[in-house]
Symmetry: D4
Subunit: 222 residues, 8 copies
């Protein structure tokens, strides 16, 4: 005696009011779902004339989505799949995504791809960790014109403090799990960012590039 | 042989460029400084035609500042002292400061007093913890018109998740050290807020009402 | 020289008095046991005219048990195998198993399958996380008639606090390891539940759906 | 310029619906409130013809309440003050409050006094820590007739596991902060209880005797 | 240009004085060493007319040792390989190895095999966890005659406290990594044992059956 | 209405069988008890013709005990009070109590005073921390003749590893809360001792000199 | 019966060989010692024609030392007392002590006073936290000529990473317990410094200004 | 629609000023980079007439580098690849790399290979853990002539304290993740080293042999 398979029947109660309530498309967290589940949710959303955004997409999920939706937009580093024309272009912005090291790029690209799907203009400033402070300082053009800054760093997580002291605009800090030993999977960077001596820096969860993008969207959305 | 006393000579290099760079007055963290130090810094700022804001003000510091600056604005619960006319009124806003329980009020008032000193309109929604969810839901007028929401909660820190699901605007979560036992001085609330299932909620340090206010100021300042 | 193999000889002293003492069948924790061990224990119990319940069943264990006991009841999501007619139907109840997100379903189903094997009526309310609070509130029929509520949530673990404030009946909170980064494998949810502002919510170990079911059984059993 | 004093004006939004919703009187957490605040809340409740319960009552609060309400019931060890006739007597029960050591008594008495105020019959079994297991075993009369058991222990927190293996009825474990060194203020006992090998034991926060009592009340209340 | 291979040349400075200094054979920790390294060390010891003991032996290491030393003694559960006649029989003893659950057996057998190789008489009492306390109590013959007791338990780690209260002789507690969720890989059991209410219980590292055996050997060796 | 005072009536169920069962006198943990309670327990024990031992004795408790029992033995550094002739002299021994620094002396003296009260011969080796290793090495007379060694250290807790490598006899390691910053109240020393590279070193709780003494007593008692 | 008072007899075995062995005077850690003990140790050292250094000096200890040794050198912020002419002037150097905020000064001055007593030239660069990065960058004269840099910071502890990227010389990072909430008494800063992206930065314990000074002395001493 | 592949275009902004600024070659952290990325960076550096050093080199990276650069220097245990003649020979030194156990060798060799590539003379003292203290003491020739000492240890991390007490020169402590259970991946050793009772010992991150080598280079470089 086996109970009916749960994979496809009612496993998720889509919150169709959220796009209207929060001004952003339904988002699917890919990791931990089966390929069949992810494709089914996206088809259901598409049938309701909605766009979609899949984060933490696995390679298999990406392959299946690409086959099913030829116009799929794919950010490989950020592992984000989305359907084009998700949101109308934003007039505010740009959002500057700053990274300390090359290992922080996947998290940064998760943020960038999410922002792009929501219609925002994204600029990038990469590999400007604080041990070579001149790289950040010489890019003042970039950080001075940004409307919101997402600063992504692992290891000691110092970059948001420096950036937060340079700009007047909102700074959203994203700790990454980059590092080893006493980095404790991103805890060192997380604590550093929560204790930033630059006032008004806010923080999201470790590796949560998507959350940082939504926080920026909440600030910029009309 | 005793070295010269450090209390008054050069102990702090005031960053006179910060107000211009970041659009907010110099802020003095009172706790841990002597009364003489706090008064001296404030007089120095006043002599430079600047306003000031003192957070975590001790009773003795408050008494001395009140005597020295008769027009001092004082928020007793938030322990914030400021000089009136610090900032021109903001046209954006209002900022809604939401608290879960009465014990969270000191942190909330630190945020509110800071925002007021920076020229922002502040509204308050208090004692709406999630165990009596109808209290929050029946106040939709307040949270629907807010431009930014600062949500202050201790214990299990659940309130920002509920608020974040109700509104489109930025939600800044402030964990407080309210609680006992396994609340670990606010760590339980902090972790809950970092793991919020409402996307785009950002977090500041435990009890950091001031930081939340500056984060809101970064969003709202032109 | 090799000592006698330990796999089948006396590795477990079955506590045949427990069913009588505690009013529930012998339970086998599958994970970490070999297929041979699990089948042998179940046969031994069956020979003693007892039912059995296997939790954390591995796929191999399930296949072997299904072959050996054709009337085996199998809950795939919850990974629980049991023999039908384990317990007489309960007149109390129902038990409502509430989940915050779809990723919490395996833990919830472990609870539900255990309860069913013990003879209790189980109802389910799924995907009602606090970021979309209307989903929970609109299901008042379900939570008002429940005799006991098991509330399963990962991430920030806020759901039991909201449920605990809505109902008078016992609420058993189950934190899950769902989440990433600062969720620390369920610790964030566990701490939130221990610090619930809804008085009288009790908590079991992370991912311990079975323990929650037995706690409900202790309440409901005559 | 000083803002109006917050001590007495609107600092707490009493949830007058809770008694009806949850079948228990309004509860005041004394610690951290001023004497004036506690007395005012109790008078407000009394004026609404409601009983009250004050937990974590400070000596000054107790003195003021005793003067204001001559019929106040006072549990000195548990620091619980309540007004007599809070609840009608319960027909279910009794609740057995078990303690491992004498240092656990304040937490146990907080539970006992709360239960008494809610109308439940309370029995006590004290100083039966597991290092002298015969003390618990020889008291089988007590634990066999209990409808619900609240087991309070600090240090290694082993007692609920032993009790949970002896009885069929609900066991609510309360870790206490009794101990030193690697007890980490009750964390050792808390972890032990969450990992109990006796299935179906549930746990509340460290030192939370009140929460355990409410959990028992949820089970026993009609 | 490649430096000389480190696998076989001087990678370990054998402490040939230790057997004499501490009255026990050289011990090899297998895990992390190559098969070639383990066999080479054992041959070197054998050439010096010494016995040996290999703990945490991998399957490949066991196979190679068995081929090279036909008289090898092998404890499969404990993963301990030793050469017979390592030590003369002890007149003290016996050592009783007590386990809470079947999952604790590998650690217990590591202790038992080590003790046997050192010449001590070992008795076993298995599956006597505290949730079925009668199993331990009915085995008083075993724990009353033991000269030293090694008590192995995971999960809540309560067993050493009960045993320590029953006997006068040394009790060495071994926490195991058995458990899940808030057991934190054995930390819950470790903390419980360090906080035992039975005075004079001592503790070794998590899963360190070998260390417990050596501690017993220090007590019993003449 | 006030419940009867708990201070003197039945607050402790003395375990009169323990001395016989475990071969040591009843022990009173002073800290947290009132002067009246401690004196009453000691008088009760004395009336039963038993000796007693009070650990963590407060100054007030000591003063009252000294007045009541003129022959009281008092160890000021260890804060241990006992009645002379508690136990007959032991023929085994001696026990060597080794300390790393002068700040570890209170814990060491708690062990030494307990051992003395139990009839054991105690020797001391103080201030031999590993940063001046020659101090320990030059005292080989002391550690070579010891039957059991109790090694007390705070900070990095390295001393038991060195001692454990020098001697064949049992080594009981006691971490102390001496240190600051990342010593975390003795956790650094505790972890070091649990991970000792000297096999067979066992560990007791932080600052638990009493526990170490009882462990030695279990080893030495006939 | 009271054992002889331990305060003055043999409580510390002075390591008279250390000055010769390590090239620095005997150092006394004041905190936790009595005034009588500290004065006695210093007199004993003076009688042996040695200088001394007292760290973490309490006000009472300072007063007594000042009275006894009129030529005492006193650093009030660093709470360091020393006797002049402790060491001959060093030709290497200077050592630059850098601080992030004014609250870090006590730890920095502990380092500076220790270095001065050891004969080194000390320069200071204060209040150059990373949120105002121009303050550090504009002081390149100071950090370019330093032979060793001690960088003291609390909160997010980012300063050593920036300094370590600017200079070629040794950088010793000192985390301080400055901060609140998730700074966890300096743990956040400690972790940041251990994870510094500037290679070759080394770290000492939280608030350990003395240790940093000795580390610099080890580098600079001939 | 797929964004351009990030593997080879601009993923790393090489800091060509660093070699000049810090007196050491560009270093590539291999782990986590693709073979193509590592080879490309090394070719780019070689084209700029610079040497290179690759740490945490994977087997595939090593194979590709060896094929591309026949004169590659390879340290297998330390997983460090470098190009010969990276730096001119240093006249200072030697650096002594000390290890507690054979399992610490990979971290020690990472340090040694880095130092060699930077032109320093390296000596090794291996397998001298504190449980056999005579092995360290009998090697005084080695530690007395060292200019800088790098001490590598896992488990209880005691070795740097002993070494730090024996020598006057700088001691850099490297905790390793060697151990199990309560070693917590090197945390026990890290805490021990931060709390060393030997003053002036400094610490780097867990397993950070490279960082220790750079710290030594900062001390020795002219």
């Amino acid at each position: 005696v086996t109970e009916p398979d749960a994979e496809l029947s009612g496993f998720a109660t889509l919150d169709h009011q959220r796009p209207q309530r929060q001004g952003m498309p339904e988002v699917v967290y890919g990791d931990g779902k089966t390929v069949v589940q992810v494709v089914a949710i996206c088809e259901q959303l598409r049938a309701a004339h909605a766009g979609f955004l899949v984060t933490r997409t696995t390679p298999d999920q990406h392959a299946a989505l690409r086959d099913r939706f030829p116009s799929l937009v794919w950010n490989a580093l950020g592992r984000v799949a989305s359907l084009a024309d998700v949101a109308p272009p934003s007039i505010a912005g740009p959002v500057l995504v700053v990274t300390a090291g090359t290992s922080d790029l996947p998290v940064a690209e998760e943020a960038a791809a999410t922002l792009a799907a929501f219609g925002h203009t994204v600029e990038r400033l990469t590999d400007v960790g604080v041990a070579g402070i001149h790289r950040l300082l010489s890019a003042s053009d970039a950080w001075q014109r940004a409307a919101v800054l997402i600063v992504v760093a692992g290891m000691e997580g110092a970059l948001p403090s420096v950036v937060g002291g340079l700009v007047r605009r909102p700074v959203i800090a994203v700790p990454t799990s980059v590092g080893y030993g006493a980095s404790f999977g991103g805890v060192a960077a997380l604590l550093a960012m929560l204790n930033s001596c630059a006032a008004g820096v806010t923080v999201v969860n470790i590796d949560n590039g998507f959350g940082a993008a939504v926080a920026a969207h909440r600030i910029l959305a009309p």
